[in-house]
């Protein structure tokens, strides 16, 4: 057998390049298409220009929740696990955060309390999966239902969300975090998403956590035989995802000025979509946090772009189709690898 590492053919090099950089090419392609399309008749884009400052800021600030989530979700999927409850965890966090604020709790304590709630929600998932040994899909499907159920219960009868009304008023600063531009025209939530992503990139490349996640997803037996506590690694990753879901919930709540128990609906699908689009293997072991981040930017650009091109009720179908394509290409790539 020859060493494949020594002499890659030019064909291999092209394949490698595509595998490593296709996500950036896709982002460029999407931006080019959206900015050259004639969008004059679509009022959402300022003067029909996708690349206008206002439009970019708009896309980035609605993207804050998914950008916050993508990194931790990638690490979890690299370890071979999945969390379907992120959307519900996000909704519950949004509701709890809004309730605290509307009842007079200042920003910082409300923020910290909601993040701690995220720790708890993630830990519950980890507990179900690792200690009770429930299959990850089933376990987090259960909590998807539970977390959403609690969020719905917290909202008063006959009211669709926690919002200003009656004696209670949202304070004026409520929008600052998720909506109003504070730094280069972008809200705190976006900058938090950037910080979280940088932290996750560091965790992936410079910390034991990232390496152990890859080992756990790549070959669990080998990981255990090497003395790695895979259970602790996975629980920690669930907690991280829980925290990021809480941050995403705060961002969404602040953006919409209310605590909507349905605000995270479908987030699990979007999260899986961006992570798969970023090239993370569904079977675990492989993936890059940064590529998922790019994947999230692509999906959000498309979503906003689509709003202007197709009716809103088409979007779920489009997301499903994109998911199918991402999963299929993922499968094809990994099959080709194993045939080599």
């Amino acid at each position: 057998m020859t060493d494949l590492t020594q002499n890659p053919t030019s064909g291999d090099r092209v394949k490698r390049f595509l595998k490593d950089y296709y996500i950036y090419l896709v982002l460029i392609l999407v931006v080019v298409v959206l900015s050259t399309a004639n969008l004059d008749k679509f009022p959402l884009f300022e003067r029909g220009n996708f690349l206008s400052e206002r439009n970019i800021i708009n896309i980035l600030r609605i993207s804050a929740p998914i950008l916050t989530l993508a990194g931790a979700f990638t690490l979890l999927m690299i370890s071979g696990y999945i969390d379907l409850s992120v959307g519900s965890a996000m909704s519950l966090s949004a509701v709890v955060y809004a309730m605290l604020v509307i009842n007079g709790v200042p920003f910082l304590p409300a923020f910290v309390a909601t993040v701690l709630l995220g720790v708890l929600l993630g830990a519950i998932n980890g507990f179900l999966v690792i200690r009770l040994k429930i299959t990850p899909v089933i376990a987090t499907l259960i909590t998807l239902s539970l977390y959403k159920g609690i969020a719905l219960l917290l909202v008063e009868d006959g009211v669709s969300a926690i919002k200003s009304g009656g004696d209670l008023k949202m304070p004026g600063w409520f929008n600052d975090y998720g909506r109003d531009g504070v730094l280069f025209g972008l809200p705190w939530a976006f900058w938090v998403a950037i910080l979280v992503t940088i932290a996750m990139i560091i965790a992936q490349d410079r910390m034991k956590l990232g390496k152990y996640a890859a080992a756990t997803g790549g070959n669990p037996t080998a990981a255990k035989l090497s003395g790695i506590n895979t259970a602790r690694t996975v629980i920690l990753l669930y907690v991280l995802v829980g925290v990021c879901a809480a941050l995403a919930g705060i961002a969404r709540s602040s953006f919409m000025s209310l605590g909507d128990p349905l605000s995270g609906d479908g987030m699990e699908l979007t999260a899986i979509l961006v992570v798969l689009l970023g090239g993370t293997a569904f079977s675990g072991g492989e993936g890059r946090v940064l590529k998922s981040f790019i994947g999230a930017l692509i999906i959000m650009s498309l979503t906003v772009g689509m709003l202007t091109l197709v009716p809103a009720y088409f979007q779920t179908l489009v997301v499903g189709t994109a998911l199918l394509l991402a999963a299929a290409s993922n499968h094809l790539v990994s099959r080709r690898d194993s045939e080599n």
Partner: protein, 508 residues
């Protein structure tokens, strides 16, 4: 730790000492008061037939099994591992047949996995990386530490795993059939690695069926037979293959083959030049009403022959079965009248969570249906019929297959094949895990089936089984059929063992 006085005075010179080691399973003594020593910095080979007790000893050494009685010592210190983790910490590394490397990480990341230096979870530079790189370079300089493991060959991955054991401080590395999946050149390279390991203060315990490898590589050899220790001596003092084989076989194997008379030359299955990733130019034929055996050691290619005929694996070459279409999938094989009884009965042959009555018709469920509607009553009738015919010991056809004994489970599997109207049965290790009484019942059943005109192929790693029931036997080694023997009173057992351990090449 307490230094045990029962061991010899020069105990520190012994990498490993085993005293009166015994392992009992219900009804079987797998390892029987075995004692031997392994000298430091040698390649120590462990040989014996299938079932001689080698792998049980390995499991006790690696902490996967606890001995029933007896003791072990490493460098004169008492050694009683409570787990595989414990064994590793005591300096015993194991190269499993299944590789335990993480494909998605680099070689260096694999070598340091679980041993990384870190502060608050952050990886920090340490001399560990330099050390493991040096270890790797010392045993195999051509592997690039920054390469992804997924880009390496199986042989290179194996070397990475050896390097990891060596750099995590293993003083003894156990290798169980490490050359099974390697090409000749890779075997040479592995031998180089093993020799360099030995020179750098590591003792290697080497298990292989390939006796040539043993003579080429080993310093000392321990021979096991029927769970007992036969001899431990320097290979230089062993008088070639014949002596080693004689020690492995010892007594004459008892086999009670009764000739079933002349079998007419009426081929139902003709295979020519079957080749795939493992098989090399396998040709043979099976006659109507004949029981043909394939005998060889682990990795010789028996199961692969069965899977190729059954359409479960791709293979080049010709397969002609009664002039019918060559099956390209198990479904087509069943339709052509071929049934396979797989080696792993519980996981591949049986639906353990279904009842006997649900299991029996499952390969040919259409036979129970009329106009697409499934008849429960017919199913019960069929189940009762087969339970009676094959003598399945159960009080009810509603019993779960899981609850049956090994022998009765195997009868259920056979019933499945018979109900599928198979003209030919491929039986892979048909009596593994079956007790003696049930064994002879299954043999009788197989003979009955053959007497009724069915062609039968048995793939077995038990010589007694093959010689006890088969009319003709093909001996396999390394993916080839090396010899064909007509069964009878005058079979030469040492010669058979010589062939299946790779000795057939020189004097066919």
């Amino acid at each position: 730790m307490i230094v045990q006085t029962a061991f010899a005075d020069n105990a520190q010179e012994k990498a490993l000492s085993v005293r009166d080691l015994t392992k009992d399973y219900p009804g079987v003594r797998a390892v029987d008061t075995v004692s031997f020593d392994i000298d430091r910095n040698t390649v120590h080979c462990l040989v014996g037939e299938n079932g001689a007790g080698k792998s049980t000893i390995v499991k006790m050494l690696t902490g996967a099994l606890a001995p029933t009685s007896g003791s072990m010592a490493i460098l004169g210190r008492d050694y009683a591992p409570s787990s595989t983790q414990d064994a590793r910490e005591s300096g015993i590394g194991t190269l499993f047949q299944e590789l335990h490397v993480v494909d998605q990480l680099t070689v260096l990341e694999n070598l340091t996995l679980g041993m990384e230096a870190s502060r608050l979870g952050f990886l920090v530079k340490s001399d560990l990386e330099e050390r493991v790189t040096k270890t790797l370079a010392a045993i195999e300089p051509t592997i690039d530490p920054s390469a992804r493991v997924s880009s390496l060959s199986v042989a290179q991955k194996q070397i990475v795993e050896i390097a990891r054991a060596a750099s995590s401080g293993a003083s003894i590395i156990i290798m169980d059939e490490p050359t099974a999946a390697l090409s000749e050149r890779e075997v040479e390279r592995l031998f180089g690695v093993i020799r360099r390991l030995r020179d750098s203060d590591v003792t290697v315990i080497y298990i292989s069926h390939k006796l040539d490898e043993i003579f080429e590589l080993g310093d000392n050899v321990t021979v096991m037979r029927d769970g007992k220790h036969i001899a431990t001596k320097p290979l230089a003092d062993v008088n070639g293959r014949p002596e080693l084989i004689e020690m492995m076989v010892g007594r004459a194997i008892t086999h009670d083959y009764e000739s079933r008379g002349e079998i007419a030359d009426k081929p139902v299955l003709t295979v020519k030049g079957l080749s795939n990733y493992l098989l090399k130019d396998v040709s043979f034929h099976v006659n109507e009403g004949e029981i043909v055996g394939f005998y060889g050691l682990v990795g010789a290619g028996k199961t692969e022959v069965a899977r190729a005929i059954y359409g479960a694996d791709k293979a080049d070459g010709q397969i002609d079965f009664l002039g019918r279409k060559r099956p390209s999938s198990p479904k087509e094989a069943i339709e052509a009248g071929i049934a396979l009884v797989p080696e792993e009965r519980r996981t591949q042959g049986l639906f353990t969570e279904l009842t006997i009555r649900r299991n029996i018709p499952i390969m040919n469920i259409r036979k129970l249906a009329s106009f697409g509607v499934f008849k429960d009553e017919r199913e019960k009738e069929v189940a009762r019929e087969y339970v009676g015919k094959l003598g399945i010991a159960t009080n009810s056809i509603e019993k779960y297959a899981e609850k049956l004994s090994g022998g009765n489970q195997q009868k259920v599997v056979l019933s499945k094949c018979l109900f599928a109207d198979a003209d030919m049965l491929l039986l892979d290790e048909p009596t593994r895990g079956v007790d003696v009484g049930a064994k002879s019942e299954i043999y009788d059943l197989i003979r009955d089936l053959a007497n009724n005109g069915r062609a039968i192929c048995i793939f077995s790693s038990e010589l007694e089984e093959v010689l006890g029931i088969c009319d003709r036997v093909f001996l396999m080694y390394d993916g080839r059929v090396e010899a064909e023997i007509q069964n009878g009173a005058e079979v030469d057992i040492p010669q058979i063992l010589n062939v299946v351990t790779g000795g057939g090449r020189e004097n066919p």
